[in-house]
């Protein structure tokens, strides 16, 4: 009797023909893992589950500060889920049980795969209107950024005698005295000429679409009527009028620049942290916040002057310092760009990889010098900017057939780097619509019965 020793498993291989020792190729490996290069099979671990009502569109982690030297800070799991139209943001430690956070009155979420990012204690949620968590222990979810007053204040000369003589103009902002956040200023009123009068301000708005606003800040020019505007006083949010008799010498700090503290795009699912700023995509524009310098409110200030414009709609963004900057994806076929630089003055867009792209923000993974993402029909692995030959030879033949006819209407694609096994995990889900029929890959356009290659169960059309 003869024998041959097969000493290891070489992974999934669609190559036909007999096997030559010493290794055994596999046609299928379901729930077996090949964790390293020894050619062994291990079983994947088990699964538990915790109740989280509705559909879960995003899970992230809020990294809290460590409480003791040498002890890692707690990571709170943050999940966004929607149950029958009701939005929830829930937190958990260790994942066994979840508790819902309070949602601010000015938060608004959608139902699509979303992204998260964190800088310092500010955890941003990009799932519709951008939102934030700043106090994971006892706080809730509130809007990220906010709008300023949209109309100029009304100002008239006082009836009686006053202190001001000259040409003056006023603006005002919304202000959160606890966090220090301040909106962009209102438009300025028409310059008012005063002669020994005070400025009677009225018509200031008392409504604002952001949580935490408790005050307004009033600003005025000096007697020349020329910019800048200087701080006059703070009033409560509910106050609509104010008498300004402040001398020029008593004016305070300069007002924020017009349009410099604007809200981020009103609806987006694509956001990232990079170089101590938040980056948010809106169509072909990529907005970036002010830089974090220790003040969290800077991360909520956006502006039309802080944006980069691309030639196609942005579909994903990913911070990749080791690859040179911030990767900006467009749809498959339109390429991947790179934003280089560290300040507004030197941000520049360069081409990173032409002709590739993705529809799926959640499929983009950067690990060391590798970039992984799901292109139109298959995963792409770039190593140092070059297509991986391993993927070309071993993965594409399988994946290309698999993904050739995935409908573009409802695919859900995600990926991550599994630290334990040092492999990429890629998940693809697609739920049919009644009018959508998947195609037989070998007979284009011909609808066929569903059948499982392993169980052979068949559903007839």
């Amino acid at each position: 009797m003869k024998n041959r020793l097969y000493r290891g498993f070489s992974g999934i291989d669609r190559t036909e023909g007999p096997i030559v020792g010493p290794q055994i190729s596999l046609l299928r490996s379901k729930n077996f893992i090949m964790p390293d290069e020894r050619g062994v099979l291990r079983k994947r671990g088990g699964t538990t589950k915790a109740t989280l009502l509705g559909d879960c569109w995003g899970i992230g982690g809020y990294q809290a500060d460590p409480t003791s030297v040498g002890i890692p800070g707690v990571v709170y799991f943050i999940a966004y889920h929607n149950n029958g139209g009701t939005a929830y943001v829930s937190k958990s430690i260790a994942g066994a049980s979840w508790s819902a956070l309070s949602l601010g009155a000015y938060t608004s979420f959608g139902t699509a795969p979303m992204s998260f990012a964190q800088i310092a204690n500010l955890f941003a949620i990009f799932g519709g209107r951008p939102a934030k968590i700043t106090d994971i222990s006892s706080g809730g979810v509130s809007r990220l950024g906010g709008g300023g007053p949209t109309a100029a204040p009304t100002v008239a000369a006082s009836t009686g005698a006053g202190s001001l003589t000259g040409e003056y103009s006023w603006k005002y902002t919304f202000y959160d005295s606890t966090s220090g956040w301040e909106s962009s200023p209102s438009p300025a009123n028409t310059t008012l000429s005063l002669s020994a009068k005070n400025g009677e301000i009225s018509g200031m708005s008392t409504t604002v679409d952001r949580e935490g606003i408790d005050k307004k800040r009033i600003y005025r020019t000096q007697l020349t009527g020329e910019a800048p505007w200087y701080h006059v006083a703070d009033v409560t949010l509910a106050t609509t009028t104010y008498t300004d008799s402040t001398s020029d010498a008593s004016l305070g700090a300069v007002a924020p620049t017009e349009g410099d503290h604007d809200a981020p795009p009103s609806s987006t699912y694509i956001g990232e942290s990079h170089e101590k700023r938040f980056w948010i995509a809106d169509g072909t524009s990529l907005y970036y916040s002010k830089i974090y310098d220790g003040s969290l409110y800077n991360l909520e200030y956006f502006s039309a002057d802080r944006k980069l414009v691309f030639n196609q709609q942005i579909t994903a963004v990913k911070s990749a310092p080791r690859l040179g900057g911030l990767l900006v994806f467009k749809a498959p076929g339109y390429g991947i760009d790179l934003v280089r630089g560290r300040s507004s003055e030197d941000f520049e867009i360069v081409e990173y990889y032409p002709s590739r792209g993705t529809y799926h923000q959640q499929s983009v993974v950067v690990q060391d010098d590798m970039l992984f993402f799901f292109d139109k029909t298959r995963p792409i692995l770039l190593k140092n900017g070059q297509i991986s030959p391993t993927f070309s030879d071993k993965v594409y033949p399988i994946i290309s057939e698999l993904c050739k006819d995935i409908p573009s209407d409802v695919p859900y694609v995600w990926a991550l780097w599994d630290n334990l096994r040092e492999q990429f995990l890629l998940g693809i889900s697609s739920i049919s619509a009644s009018s959508v029929q998947w195609q037989d890959a070998t007979s284009w356009g011909v609808g066929v019965s569903w059948k499982d290659s392993f169980t052979t169960v068949t559903w007839q059309v």
Partner: protein, 216 residues
């Protein structure tokens, strides 16, 4: 073709609303396709529109999880749960009210010890047994099946049970082993343990012909 795609069933689909196509695969940057995963709650081809929508792996230094629980969280659709998976403990897959072990299956490609991959079929042999270099592969709870001269990963393959003895627990035998080639199916329905399950075997066989002669 012996090398038919293991995922070929994924391609075919009828226009039935609500059918979910679901696959999670492990891709090794150096060795390629490393395997696929499935969960009873979110199976491929299910009609409940259940799907995995998102995933998160906590940092390895997180104090939220014990060091031994390097888990991954999976967010789901139409299931009202979040799954934790890849735990290194002894958790088992919940399925309804009962707990079940994770079922793992591996199917080999063609095994024909007399031929190279570039050559044609090598001729009839009598496959005798598998011997496991590490003792007690069968005692570990593995089941082995085989099929002969079929497209092993395709529909219609006839899988036959291999036989074991009570004394030789490091052998599995072919009850009917006359074939040009075989495929082996390895099944593990045991509780999870953090160890290697199998890394190969020694194939024992009789060659029934000399190349160029008629097979007997």
């Amino acid at each position: 073709m012996g090398g038919r795609s293991l995922l070929e069933g994924f391609i075919y689909y009828g226009n039935m609303a609500g059918i979910t196509r679901e696959i999670v695969m492990a891709l090794d940057p150096y060795r390629g396709f490393a395997g696929e995963f499935s969960w009873p709650e979110v199976e491929d081809g299910n009609s409940d529109e259940r799907a995995i929508l998102c995933v998160y792996q906590p940092p390895a230094n997180s104090s939220s999880l014990p060091i031994s629980n390097d888990g991954i969280l999976l967010g789901t659709k139409n299931l009202d749960v979040v799954l934790f998976t890849f735990l290194t403990g002894t958790e088992t897959d919940p399925n309804g009210s009962a707990t079940e072990s994770v079922e793992a299956i591996a199917i080999t490609g063609r095994i024909d010890p007399t031929m190279t991959q570039e050559d044609d079929i090598g001729g009839a042999k009598s496959y005798h047994s598998l011997e496991f270099p590490h003792l007690r592969q069968v005692n570990k709870g593995l089941d082995f099946e085989y099929c002969v001269e079929e497209e092993a990963a395709g529909e219609g393959a006839t899988w036959l049970d291999m036989h074991y003895t009570d004394t030789d627990r490091n052998f599995a035998y072919f009850p009917e082993g006359i074939a040009n080639w075989v495929n082996i199916k390895i099944k593990d329905n045991t509780e999870y343990v953090d160890r290697d399950i199998i890394d190969g075997f020694r194939l024992h066989y009789y060659e029934l012909f000399t190349r160029g002669d008629e097979a007997t």
